[in-house]
C-alpha cells in the first residue's frame, strides 16, 4: 500500500480512538499496543540490531504486571518509582505498574541522590523497579527477572489512573507533577492537530518513521513527544546505548532514524564542532561554507518543496559526517536555541523546529511552518489544540485540559489553578506566533530601565576555540548594589595566562559591537564547575546559589587566582594524560620516560595520546618523523613554545 495512504488510514483510525476515548490509561494502552507486527523499539547489541514488536512488548507488560501484583500481594494505589533509563524494560515497567493498579513515579535519574531520596520519601514511595541491582535510595527493590513467567489465562487487571513526574534537572528543586489519563489523552489530542497542520512530520525514509530516544522518558518532553505521540501510531523508537556524540551519530545512521527531538545543547554542540572543523580547513573553505548556508536559505525560502532536496547535494560531505540522509524532522525544546544553530541545521537540510513546554503543562506549542523564514525566527509557533495562551505583564500564562491536576512542592501537595504562570517572558508578532524571550528571573534591568535577556547576548559568544568548558551571562551584584550584566567563564584546568589574554581580546571584540545598554560590564573566570554535572545546561539559579555559598570562586585574572601557578601544573596534567592513554599509574611515568620503550605504549596509544593532548590544549600536534615527541618533557616544551 502507498505509504501516504497507509498513514492517512492509520491516522484516521487512531484519531477516532482519541476522540471516542473517555480518558483512561487502559484505552491508551489498548490503542497503543494494537499494532502487532511493527517494532516498538530497536537497539544495537554487539553490532546486531534487536527489534521488539508491539505484540511481544504487550506480552512482557502483562507478564510483568502479573509478577508485580504477586510481589506486592495485590496491594494497589501505591506510588512505584521507575529507576531505569530509556530501555524496553522502562516501557514494560511503566505499563506494568499501571496495569497492576499502582501509579508509576517517573523519577528524574539526573537529580542528585539526596533530592531523589527526599522526593521518594515525600511521595511515600515504598518500592522501585530496578534492572540488575537493588537501588541506593532506601526503598525496596523489585528487580525485573530474566524470565517473567507464565500468565494465567484468568488473569484480570485494572489500570490505575495517575502518573507522577519529577521536574527537569536544571532547577534542582523538588517538584512532582501528577497527570491523570484524561490529561495525558489531551496531550495526545494535540498530535492530531500537528498531523493535520503539517505533512513534514509524517515524512518517512525507506517507508518507515523512527524516533531517536535521545530525551529520557522520565522527562516530559521525552515522555510526550517521543513515547506517546509516536508509539500511538505504531512507529518505532530507537534506543541509545550511551549519550556519547559518536554513539548518537552512528545510531542515527545505522538505524536510519527519521525524527530527532533534542535539547538545544545537542544543536549547539553540533554547530560548535562543525564551525571548528570548517575553520581548521582554512579561510577559503570557511567563506565557501558560510556562502553556501546563505544560498541554501535563499533556495529553500524561494522553493519550499524542491529547495530542501536541491541543497542536499552541496552539503553531502557535511551531512555524511553528521546524521546521513535519513533525518526528516527535528524539534528543539527545553531552553533557548541559538539562532545560528537553527540556521545552520536548516541550511544543511535538517529541518529543525522550535517547541515549547514545561513539566507542569506538557508540550504546548511547536512551530510547524513549512516556510524556512518562519522557522528561522526562533518562534515557538501557535498554542496547540488543548491549550490557551495569555500574556500577563509580558509573562506567559497557560490554560489547558492537558495541564497537570496537582503539584507537590517540597512535600506539600497543591491543586493547580486553571491558569499556570510559566514565568517565561514572551512576545507575540503580528501573525500571532509566540516568541520566548527568557526567564523572568534571568532578566537584568539595564541602567536606562530596559529589560535585557542574557540568552540573546549569550548566543553571540562562541568560546569553542579556547580552553573554556562553559560560560554564563547573568546579572551579578556586589555588596547589595544593583545587578550588573556579567560573564562567568569556566576555564579548563590547563588554561594559561596566554589563553586568558586571547579570551579577553575575543570577548572585547564581540562586546564592543553591542549597544551600550547591552554591554557586559564584568568578566570573571573560574576553574570550578559552574554547571551541575547532571544538568544539560548552565542554570543561572544554580550558579548564583553556589556563588553565594562560596562553592564557586571567581577571579578576574588567572594570575590573581593562582599565584602559585608553576610549570609543574603542566607537567602534572601531561602525566595525567599519559597515564590515561596508557592505563597506567601516574607514579610510573617520569618526565623523561620514552613512550614506546620505557612505558610500553603501542602506536595506537600514541595516536590516542596525540588526540587527547590536542583536545585538552586546543592544539594541532601532528607527527613529525624527524623530531617525534616521545616523552612528557618533549610535549611540555612543545606546548610552551606553540601555545597561542
Amino acid at each position: 500500500m502507498n505509504v501516504e495512504r497507509y498513514q492517512q488510514k492509520i491516522i484516521k483510525k487512531y484519531t477516532k480512538i482519541i476522540d471516542e476515548a473517555k480518558g483512561t490509561f487502559e484505552e491508551i494502552f489498548d490503542a497503543n499496543f494494537s499494532h502487532n507486527k511493527y517494532p516498538i523499539v530497536e537497539y544495537s547489541e554487539d553490532g546486531k540490531i534487536i527489534k521488539i514488536s508491539y505484540q511481544e512488548m504487550k506480552r512482557r507488560i502483562v507478564a510483568f504486571s502479573y509478577y508485580l501484583t504477586n510481589k506486592l500481594d495485590n496491594r494497589r494505589d501505591l506510588y512505584i518509582a521507575i529507576n531505569l533509563e530509556n530501555s524496553p524494560e522502562w516501557i514494560m515497567a511503566f505499563w506494568g505498574i499501571l496495569m497492576s493498579g499502582n501509579k508509576p513515579y517517573l523519577m528524574n535519574l539526573r537529580h542528585p541522590d539526596t533530592l531523589i531520596k527526599k522526593s521518594l520519601n515525600d511521595l511515600g514511595v515504598e518500592y522501585s523497579v530496578d534492572l540488575h541491582e537493588e537501588n541506593k535510595f532506601g526503598v525496596k527493590s523489585v528487580l525485573i527477572p530474566e524470565f517473567l513467567g507464565e500468565i494465567p489465562s484468568d488473569y484480570k487487571y485494572e489500570f490505575a489512573n495517575e502518573i507522577a513526574l519529577s521536574t527537569s534537572a536544571t532547577s534542582m528543586e523538588e517538584k512532582i507533577c501528577f497527570y491523570s489519563g484524561k490529561e495525558l489523552l489531551s496531550q495526545m489530542t494535540n498530535i492530531k492537530e500537528i498531523l493535520k497542520q503539517t505533512k513534514e512530520v509524517r515524512r518517512t525514509y525507506h517507508q518507515t518513521i523512527k524516533l531517536l530516544a535521545f530525551l529520557p522518558f522520565y522527562h516530559i518532553f521525552g515522555l510526550i513527544t517521543v513515547y506517546f505521540w509516536f508509539t500511538f501510531f505504531g512507529y518505532t523508537i530507537v534506543l541509545l546505548k550511551d549519550y556519547s556524540p559518536q554513539t548518537i551519530l552512528s545510531t542515527i545512521k545505522k538505524h536510519e532514524v527519521t525524527h530527532l527531538f533534542a535539547v538545544p545543547l545537542l544543536w549547539h554542540t553540533i554547530e560548535d564542532e562543525l564551525v571548528k572543523q570548517v575553520k581548521a580547513r582554512g579561510p577559503e573553505v570557511e567563506k565557501k561554507f558560510y556562502d553556501g548556508i546563505e544560498k541554501s536559505i535563499r533556495v529553500q525560502s524561494k522553493h519550499p518543496i524542491i529547495g530542501p532536496k536541491l541543497i542536499k547535494g552541496p552539503f553531502k560531505e557535511i551531512r555524511s559526517s553528521l546524521f546521513g540522509d535519513s533525518i526528516q524532522f527535528c524539534i528543539s525544546g527545553g531552553s533557548y536555541l541559538r539562532s545560528s544553530s537553527l540556521k545552520l541545521m536548516n541550511a544543511i537540510g535538517y529541518p529543525l523546529y522550535c517547541g515549547y513546554g514545561a513539566t507542569e503543562i506538557g508540550i504546548t506549542s511547536v512551530e510547524l511552518s513549512k516556510n524556512i523564514k518562519d522557522r528561522l525566527r526562533n518562534s515557538v509557533g501557535y498554542p496547540l489544540a488543548s491549550i490557551e495562551y495569555r500574556i500577563v505583564d509580558n509573562v506567559l500564562v497557560v490554560k489547558g485540559e492537558s495541564n497537570c491536576h496537582k503539584v507537590m512542592i517540597n512535600g506539600k501537595t497543591i491543586k493547580t489553578d486553571e491558569y499556570y504562570i510559566t514565568n517565561d517572558i514572551v512576545h507575540q508578532d503580528e501573525t500571532g506566533r509566540y516568541y520566548i524571550d527568557g526567564r523572568k528571573s534571568d532578566i537584568v534591568i539595564a541602567d536606562n530601565g530596559e529589560n535585557i535577556n542574557p540568552d540573546v547576548i549569550e548566543e553571540l559568544f562562541n568560546f569553542s576555540s579556547y580552553p573554556v568548558n562553559c560560560f554564563s551571562i547573568l546579572g551579578l551584584s556586589k555588596e547589595q548594589e544593583k545587578e550588573t550584566l556579567s560573564i562567568v567563564i569556566e576555564l579548563k584546568q590547563t588554561a594559561l595566562k596566554k589563553d586568558e589574554e586571547a579570551i579577553r581580546s575575543y570577548f572585547d571584540s564581540i562586546n564592543s559591537t553591542l549597544d551600550m545598554t547591552q554591554r557586559i560590564k564584568n568578566i570573571y573566570f573560574t576553574f570550578d564547575q559552574i554547571k551541575n554535572p547532571a544538568a544539560i545546561k548552565v542554570s543561572r539559579k544554580y550558579l548564583k546559589a553556589h556563588l553565594d555559598s562560596g562553592d564557586i570562586k571567581l577571579f578576574t585574572s588567572i594570575i590573581n587566582s593562582n599565584e602559585e601557578y608553576k610549570q609543574t601544573s603542566l607537567t602534572n596534567t601531561l602525566i595525567k594524560i599519559f597515564a590515561e592513554a596508557l592505563r597506567m599509574d601516574e607514579d610510573k611515568i617520569k618526565p623523561d620516560s620514552h613512550f614506546l620503550y620505557d612505558l610500553n605504549g603501542t602506536s595506537l596509544d600514541y595516536f590516542t595520546l596525540l588526540s587527547m593532548i590536542n583536545e585538552q590544549f586546543s592544539l594541532e600536534i601532528a607527527f613529525d618523523v624527524n623530531n617525534p615527541l616521545v616523552s612528557v618533557s618533549d610535549f611540555e616544551k612543545y606546548i610552551m613554545e606553540n601555545k597561542k
Binding site: 507486527k37 544495537s44 554487539d46 489465562s153 555524511s320 613512550f595 602506536s603 595506537l604 607527527f623
Partner: protein, 420 residues
C-alpha cells in the same frame, strides 16, 4: 595516477572475470541479506580476516562496482615494482615503518569521509586456514573518527583451481556498538574482542552453510518428494502466514529451530509448505515408523526418528547434526498431538538443542481449522535467542517459547481465527 587508475581498474576487473570464476569460484553468503548486499552507500571501512595476498584480489572482484583501497604495510608496498604499481593503481594506503607514525589513520579517515571504501586486515599477517590471529584495534579508531559503518568480511581462504572460496559479508556495524570511549584502552580491547568473536561466529556460520550445497544426491529424495507430493496436494493445503514478529518468516537463513504447537497429523505438511524454500527436517515419533517402506519415505523426506519413552540421545545428536549443517529443524515441543484445549507443557529438549548448536528458536502457532482442506492460519512470532548451555536455564528457555506461542494464540483468538 587517478587517470591511470580510472582506466586500468575497469580493464583489470573485466579481463579478470575468467580468473575469478576459475581460481576463486567464490560463494558469497550474507549475515542478513536484507540489510547487507554488496552495495555500499557512502564511505565504509571493510574489516576482513587475512589468509593470503589473494584475499585482496578476491575483494577486488567481490565489490565489483567499487574501488576498495587496501591499507598495506611498507614491506608489501615496496616488495617489487609490479606490486607497487598495482597497489598504487588501486589507491592503497601505506603504513609507515615508524611505529609512532599513525598517519595512515588520518588518511583513511579523510578518504572515508569523502565517501571512499577502505579495507583493512587488522591481523597484520597471514593467519593459517581456519584460524584467527590477534586483531589490532586501529580499525575501531578509524571507524570512530570517520563515523562510518564497518563491514565485517569473513573469508575461508580456500583459493585455487580445485578449491572453492566461501565468503560471508556481515551486517554493517559501527565502532560505537563495541566501544563507548575509544580513548579508553580497556574499553577498546574489550570492544575489539567482541568484534573478533562476531567474526568468529561468522566463520562458524560460513562453515556450516558451506556444508549445505544447493543440490546433493542425499537430499534428492527430500527435494523430489516435496515437489512430487505437493504437486498433488498443493491446492488442498492452503496456508496463510501471519507474521506477528519484526521479521518475515521467509527471511531467516542458516540454522533455525521451528517450534510449533501440535494439533494434527497435517502440521508438518502445513509447515513444509509455509517454509517451502527451505529443507525442513522434523522429529517423528518411533511409533510412526511402522514398516520399511514408510521408514524409507519418512527418512527421505527429512524425518528424524525419536523414541519418546527413553532419553533418545541419538535422535538429539542427529537433530543437532542437521542444525550444525545450517538447516532448519521442525520440533513440536509438546511431544504429542493435542487436538482440543490448552497448549501442553513444553519439553526441555528444544532448549538443549538450541543451546548446544547456538541456534535461535522461531515460535509458531498453528490455528486449528475446521476441516483439513480449509485454509490453515499460522502465526509467526519473534525468535527466542539461544542461551548458553546451562541446565538451570533450559526450563526457562522452553517456558519462554511456550509463553510466546501462547501470546500468538491470543492474537489468533483476537483476530477471530480460532474455531471454538
Amino acid at each position: 595516477m587517478k587517470f591511470i587508475s580510472a582506466i586500468l581498474i575497469p580493464i583489470m576487473k573485466v579481463t579478470g572475470i575468467p580468473l575469478e570464476l576459475l581460481f576463486f569460484k567464490r560463494k558469497t553468503y550474507y549475515q542478513y541479506r536484507k540489510m547487507q548486499k554488496r552495495t555500499i552507500k557512502g564511505g565504509a571501512l571493510i574489516v576482513s580476516n587475512h589468509h593470503s595476498f589473494w584475499d585482496y584480489i578476491m575483494v577486488f572482484f567481490l565489490f565489483f562496482w567499487y574501488k576498495v583501497r587496501p591499507i598495506v604495510s611498507y614491506e608489501i608496498m615496496h616488495k617489487n615494482k609490479v606490486l607497487t604499481f598495482f597497489l598504487r593503481v588501486v589507491g592503497a594506503i601505506e603504513v609507515s615503518r615508524n611505529p609512532l607514525d599513525m598517519d595512515y589513520i588520518n588518511k583513511a579517515v579523510e578518504l572515508i569521509r569523502k565517501g571512499k571504501k577502505v579495507i583493512i586486515y587488522p591481523e597484520g599477517h597471514f593467519a593459517p586456514i581456519g584460524k584467527f590471529l590477534p586483531f589490532s584495534n586501529s580499525y575501531l579508531k578509524i571507524a570512530q573518527e570517520a563515523n562510518c559503518p564497518i563491514i565485517p568480511l569473513y573469508t575461508d581462504g580456500h583459493y585455487g583451481f580445485f578449491k572453492r572460496n566461501h565468503v560471508m559479508v556481515g551486517t554493517p556495524v559501527y565502532a560505537s556498538d563495541f566501544v563507548s570511549d575509544i580513548n579508553d584502552k580497556d574499553d577498546r580491547e574489550q570492544g575489539n574482542s567482541r568484534f573478533v568473536s562476531n567474526m568468529k561466529e561468522m566463520g562458524e556460520i560460513t562453515e556450516k552453510r558451506s556444508k549445505t550445497p544447493l543440490f546433493t544426491f542425499k537430499m534428492f529424495p527430500m527435494d523430489f518428494g516435496k515437489v512430487f507430493i505437493f504437486a498433488h496436494i498443493w491446492p488442498f493445503i492452503r496456508v496463510k502466514v501471519h507474521n506477528c514478529g519484526t521479521r518475515k518468516h521467509n527471511t531467516y537463513e542458516g540454522p533455525l529451530i521451528v517450534s510449533a504447537n501440535h494439533i494434527s497429523f497435517t502440521d508438518p505438511i502445513v509447515l513444509i509448505k509455509a517454509f517451502f524454500y527451505r529443507r525442513l527436517h522434523f522429529l517423528i515419533a518411533k511409533e510412526v515408523y511402522a514398516n520399511k517402506a514408510r521408514n524409507a519415505g519418512l527418512n527421505g523426506l527429512g524425518g528424524i526418528k525419536i523414541d519418546r519413552q527413553s532419553f533418545d540421545i541419538d535422535a538429539i545428536n542427529n537433530a543437532c547434526d542437521v542444525l550444525n549443517k545450517g538447516r532448519a529443524l521442525l520440533v513440536f515441543p509438546e511431544g504429542h498431538i493435542i487436538r482440543e484445549g490448552e497448549i501442553d507443557a513444553f519439553k526441555n529438549g528444544i532448549a538443549i538443542m538450541s543451546a548446544k548448536t547456538k541456534t535461535n528458536i522461531l515460535p509458531i502457532y498453528i490455528a486449528k481449522s475446521k476441516k483439513w482442506y480449509h485454509r490453515h492460519h499460522i502465526f509467526v512470532g519473534d525468535v527466542v535467542k539461544y542461551s548458553p548451555f546451562d541446565m538451570k536455564k533450559m526450563t526457562s528457555t522452553a517456558l519462554e517459547v511456550s509463553s510466546k506461542i501462547k501470546a500468538l494464540e491470543k492474537i489468533a483468538k483476537d483476530g477471530g481465527y480460532l474455531n471454538d
